[in-house]
Symmetry: C2
Subunit: 424 residues, 2 copies
Amino acid sequence: MGLETPEGYTALGEATVAAFLAGLPAVAKRLGGGPKDWTVGEVGDGNLNLVFLVDGPKGGVCVKQSLPYVRLVGEGWPMPLERAFFERSCLAEHGRHVGRLIPEVYHYDPLRFAIVMEKLSPHIIMRRGMIEAVRYPSFADHISTYMARALFFTSDLALPAPEKKQKVKLFCDNTELCRITEDLIFTDPYRVHERNRWTSPQLDGIAADIRADCELKLAVSTLKLKFLTRAEALLHGDLHTGSVMVTEDDSRVIDPEFAFFGPMGFDIGAVIGNLLLNYFAQDGHATSDRPRDDYQDWVLETVDEVWSLFQGKFLALWADHPDGDAYPADLFADAEGAEALAAAKHVFMRRLFADALGFGAAKMIRRILGLAHNIDLEWIEDPDRRAVCETRALKLARDLMVNTSDYRTIADVTAAARETRAKG
Amino acid sequence: MGLETPEGYTALGEATVAAFLAGLPAVAKRLGGGPKDWTVGEVGDGNLNLVFLVDGPKGGVCVKQSLPYVRLVGEGWPMPLERAFFERSCLAEHGRHVGRLIPEVYHYDPLRFAIVMEKLSPHIIMRRGMIEAVRYPSFADHISTYMARALFFTSDLALPAPEKKQKVKLFCDNTELCRITEDLIFTDPYRVHERNRWTSPQLDGIAADIRADCELKLAVSTLKLKFLTRAEALLHGDLHTGSVMVTEDDSRVIDPEFAFFGPMGFDIGAVIGNLLLNYFAQDGHATSDRPRDDYQDWVLETVDEVWSLFQGKFLALWADHPDGDAYPADLFADAEGAEALAAAKHVFMRRLFADALGFGAAKMIRRILGLAHNIDLEWIEDPDRRAVCETRALKLARDLMVNTSDYRTIADVTAAARETRAKG
């Protein structure tokens, strides 16, 4: 390995994982038998890390280890091992609030920067299921609970300020992962950069239009400033449909290595933006004997439900747990105060909705014009067909980001998605 | 001393300061002679700390030491010694940007939590001069430079994100001092609390009105949420006219122990709010043979200049040093981009102006209805006369906070101050 790593760190391999786990009695017991009875498979299909699934006679575990570089790119792009620490810290913090909506962590190894956690089975990555037009009828309920609880309970609405400041401090060091977001989402797609790629030549024109679109560049820069300055809650930081593992009736949020205190709308927008990308991508996967229109309806219903359920749950938590230093309960204790506070909550949610749309739009654009694309679109083999889907997604995203205030409800968003698709 | 303190800490006294300084060769050399030649006086008139002025044959120094409690209240209100560390850290950070607008630090003692720094002479606390109607013709120029440079160079407009995050992290532990602000400025004056006091019975009615004023309580709670979440720049955190030492042509900002990363408007508002308090207080100090109308004109001219000069200087810094991660320069490099960015800067400054007015208003209200008052008003002996001044200040502050968007320019603010005074 060319990059320097701290003493005690070695990248695990399929041959060495079992020995590592054998040294952890509670984990070994969970697997059953001994190392010779365990099968190991490396399955990391993400962009950054090693991921091993280990099965024994009694059960299985998942081992996720940081590499000192970005796996997608190689040693030329070093990346701090400590991201495993932040992932584990976020799993611990969110775990207190969302229970079984994330995997259980069995062990964290600070020398190997490795997390040993629950192996999710028979779960698959939600994005893969959605490409196959599989419906997840409980997803909107699950993800809205996850977001409402994870965001509310790490915000100033629920926490006393000193406690929140300590949590903010812990995640201040996750700078390199934040920088990926700052560069790849908020900056690169809007300028000429060697890391960018898109369906070419079909999108050359629209990519150039976006690089010249000053209104859009101002809007995304304002979002970036929010991302840089607003420590509202502990975010997952990368909450797309590739970070959710699902069965028909279970959903688990994984991979919060981008965790940090930022604007709540960033996580909500990530979910909505990725659902909208899938909506547009379906037209590239539909065949005459297997049309996708009904599924697209379901995707948009899910977009609607994600926001509507989130809003209801977040407000219910705020009503039940007004324990933070923001909007002190005793200032609004009487009937008139309660009414005033209700109005303020409405304003708060409208602002959060607008943030979510802006951030969601930024997520859509980066997946089409930036470095990291998603397979909803990438797996459309015919570039002409893919470009049609991508162009529609870019058009909607541009409007969501620049004319955010025109979208007053989530129904306005899904209607605009339908209209954008219908127009070609 | 009843409160536990770390090993090595003893509160200094007039008798022990010289021995402490004798152990610091560079400081001893600055004073000249030996400890026997040095005179020591304790002059701390603030609310929290010990302050010694030490003079020797060659020169003088100032020693500021944390006490483990709030001096104004006593041991019943413990307060972390570490505030000296944050003051020194802020002096170091701001010092890189504002040069001689703050005192030079000669030494920091981490065991004694003591800062040895430049003795400012013949400077006096600006608030005391203003009560005597002394004009400081350079103040607006100095304080606007201080704020523009301290805020700009610690913001995402000037800093790469990883560097800024490290600075944010450093100040995350200054929680107890932030809590004083959170409670005493944004919360207590708006509820019944034993710490509150006001000119009674004259202000009993308006204090009750304010506690029942839901619009105002929402507005101050929204400001509090900004204070809790928006890490825009390294703030002084307590930038009133009692934190500025002046001569006719020099101004030095002292006492940044409340320093932390927060919303820029908080510091700007502190300056404006305290000038406005002085403006209204003058009517309590005027006599028939020494009217204060001309001085009040000067105070309002100064309010106007503080904002106008700040705005110009901040925008000039932004034009000259667009080195931060926010609003990346290469996105706005061409003529159209430059025009768009100029528009965005205008929006940014309008938002900052509104924040400053809201925070300034909060500062005004807390000084009349909360725990810590200021001598501009306190030194008006006749309570009826004082109450008239205070009532006017509260009326303007209430309007500034609730109807912030009605104030489009700083001239609107000074006009409203004049009108509020004229109406009685």
